[in-house]
């Protein structure tokens, strides 16, 4: 446009320098914003996790830092997929109280359903929550605690009550209700919760004894 000389090499150089300058300035803006918000974002993430965990294990039950007292485990068979999953441990006066297992129901109607399953030391469920899912709005999304109380019915259940064989939806001969118009979603959730209980039964001692691990670096 302007200040254009007849020398193409000079023009190209000037353009490259100009573009480089803009790249520097815009990168500086992003970097400054990042510095400004980094701590706040990390704190938000921590609080969000903690809020989710405290819905399942009331703060009075434990005296340790749930977010820090965590190990990462991988068990494609019992925890749904081959991702490393955080397991949070709750303790009081150093004694194990409960764990919160992150698990996946891989066979939801709209894909994987991520769940938190809180289990007390004796193997009874303290609570289950769906963390993320892609189930049909108005049908399968009744697994959200905001939409219906269905997910609360797992509370106080264990592998003895109901008996392991009856950990199914009613249509499959079990004890858990399905939804009107949606069986696949509750079936997937029931199966995943049952597998989480089995995982807990098989690994109980090591789950509490393994020292905490630093969080896996999030590379997004």
């Amino acid at each position: 446009m302007h200040r254009k000389t007849d020398n193409p090499a000079k023009n190209a150089l000037r353009g490259a320098l100009l573009l480089g300058l803009f790249a520097l300035i815009t990168t500086a803006v992003v970097a400054a914003t990042y510095q400004l918000t980094r701590e706040k974002i990390a704190e938000n993430e921590r609080l969000a996790v903690l809020r989710g965990l405290h819905e399942l294990i009331s703060p009075s039950l434990h005296d340790n830092d749930l977010v820090q007292d965590v190990i990462y485990v991988t068990d494609p068979e019992l925890l749904g997929d081959d991702e490393a999953k955080p397991i949070y441990r709750a303790r009081k006066n150093g004694q194990p109280v409960a764990v919160i297992i992150t698990t996946t129901a891989p066979d939801g109607y709209g894909g994987a359903i991520k769940l938190l399953v809180a289990i007390d030391h004796g193997g009874r469920i303290l609570g289950v929550r769906a963390v993320s899912h892609k189930e049909t709005p108005g049908l399968g999304d009744a697994i959200e605690v905001e939409k219906s109380d269905w997910i609360l019915r797992f509370t106080a259940k264990s592998l003895d009550d109901p008996p392991e064989k009856q950990w199914k939806v009613k249509r499959d001969g079990g004890v858990f209700d399905q939804f009107t118009g949606a069986t696949i979603t509750p079936r997937a959730v029931v199966k995943a919760v049952k597998r989480a209980l089995i995982y807990y039964r098989e690994h109980r001692e090591e789950l509490f004894d393994t020292p905490s691990q630093p969080p896996v670096e999030d590379d997004t």
């Binding site: 446009m1 254009k4 573009l19 815009t26 992003v30 914003t33 918000t37 974002i41 709005p137 049908l139």
Partner: protein
């Protein structure tokens, strides 16, 4: 000042990015499920539009023609990243809900269209004003669509507004129908298309009515139909 008024009319109505230019439909259709989501994304987009228009207008004499697109992309992308970080820091829950659609503001062609066709040729004040008006026009359509879908889909209005404006606004939710089972189609993507179609149709009806009225009051003048370009 009439220049600014013209810009406002163009952005909000005559050349509304969502209803007339039909730009930025991906986020428009995807996050218009509730008023809160719609307003959140609309305001974020508006902020980026104002910032991008203002920045480009300020540097418009420095940018050479062949370099303008990469510079615009740099400006828009860094603004969007900044907005994303700020939202993550100060509106964490809303950030979670809007998810991928915040970084996708980069791909909203309405923004680069305004930068290219307006900000690159105008002084900073009108450019920023144009960004604001275009952004608000976009936001208005998003919110209207969000209201239609939320009311039909789940029988409420303004639910979870606290995600956007803070805990003081938690109780603003209006329940239109108790025990409403929800109209699934309105929440699903087709509902967004139907809703947008109705809004575009409504705008065209209003425009035609208005054109007819002007023709009746001033029979001599030749009033052209408002062109609705795509």
């Amino acid at each position: 000042m009439s220049e600014l008024r013209d810009i406002a009319r163009t952005g909000l109505w005559e050349n509304n990015p969502a209803l007339v230019q039909l730009l930025g439909l991906c986020p428009l259709l995807a996050v218009s499920g509730t008023v809160t989501n719609a307003l959140g994304l609309g305001l974020a987009t508006t902020f980026v539009m104002v910032g991008a228009n203002l920045t480009v207008s300020l540097i418009r004499d420095q940018i050479r023609d062949e370099l303008r697109i990469p510079v615009y992309v740099l400006v828009i992308a860094s603004l969007v990243t900044a907005v994303e970080l700020l939202m993550h820091a100060y509106r964490h829950d809303l950030y979670k809900v809007l998810g991928i659609f915040i970084p996708l503001i980069v791909t909203n062609c309405a923004i680069i269209a305004r930068v290219e066709s307006f900000a690159a040729k105008n002084r900073p004040l009108p450019a920023a004003w144009d960004g604001l008006m275009m952004g608000l026009g976009f936001t208005a359509v998003l919110v209207l669509l969000g209201a239609m879908r939320e009311a039909l889909g789940q029988g409420t209005l303004l639910s979870r507004l606290d995600l956007l404006l803070g805990p003081a606004f938690r109780d603003l939710e209006i329940v239109l129908a108790e025990d409403y089972r929800g109209f699934l189609l309105a929440i699903l993507p087709p509902g967004a298309f139907f809703g947008l179609a109705l809004l575009v149709a409504a705008k065209n009806v209003i425009d035609q009515r208005r054109a007819r009225r002007t023709r009746e009051t001033a029979p001599q003048g030749d009033v052209a139909e408002a062109p609705s370009s795509l």
